[in-house]
Symmetry: C2
Subunit: 136 residues, 2 copies
């Protein structure tokens, strides 16, 4: 079963233009065409786009995705390199988890300061930026 670009777009929740762009960039090799030259997507292609979307959402660059595509096209002998890429990416994911945790801490801290100010527990002058205003 094959899908038109419109069907692919709907199933992926991703603009058709973006899918074409990915193909043009070499991220979607071996997309067949019908007699009119229209793209025919297989389920595998959709799965791969979904995986790319998942990786993209967490900061993987298109250039790295393309590297992985190229390695995959070179066969099983490149599996060690693909593993290395994924393991490195995994390290980045851990870094990002830490960054998120830090940002969450900072947000919660800021929110609790706002609460304190609202309840008159601390004067606003101890608040960042407002202090700057004072020193004006």
């Amino acid at each position: 079963m094959a899908f038109t670009i419109k069907e692919a777009s709907e199933r992926l929740g991703c603009p058709a233009h973006t899918i074409r762009f990915y193909e043009k960039e070499g991220l979607l090799p071996y997309i067949k065409r019908d007699k009119n030259g229209n793209r025919l997507f297989e389920q595998d292609h959709l799965d791969w786009v979904r995986l790319m979307t998942c990786f993209r959402a967490t900061g993987m660059k298109l250039s790295l995705l393309k590297e992985m595509v190229n390695l995959a096209l070179d066969g099983d002998s490149t599996i060690p390199q693909r593993k290395a890429i994924l393991n490195q990416y995994k390290e980045e994911l851990f870094l990002r988890q830490n960054e998120l945790a830090e940002a969450l801490d900072a947000v919660n801290n800021k929110l609790s300061i706002y609460e304190d100010i609202e309840k008159g527990r601390i004067p606003s002058e101890s608040q960042l930026l407002i202090k700057m205003e004072e020193s004006e």
Copy 2:
């Protein structure tokens, strides 16, 4: 105690050009100057840049940071709005945590598939992209 831009840059691990850029964008109001027109940074400014860096690393846009600066400059009456912004940002952080978790799952899954192939447990044809190659 005030710092030159070079000192600020060193302490923040952030290029001086970027700090100037932030000031130009209104993200660092009320930076004083010495008699030669050189910027003098207070500890508060460094703290705020650090917080911005933390928020930026997790996807907050400069335009939103600027909104928060502007609200802060308008005084305590804008605290509800600032809280609303931070609470919304917090929701985004949770979304990102989920995205990271999903990506980690996907990476681990892919890695285990590679292991299986390397150990001959499954044929490479079941592997994404390589299947595409086959259908060529």
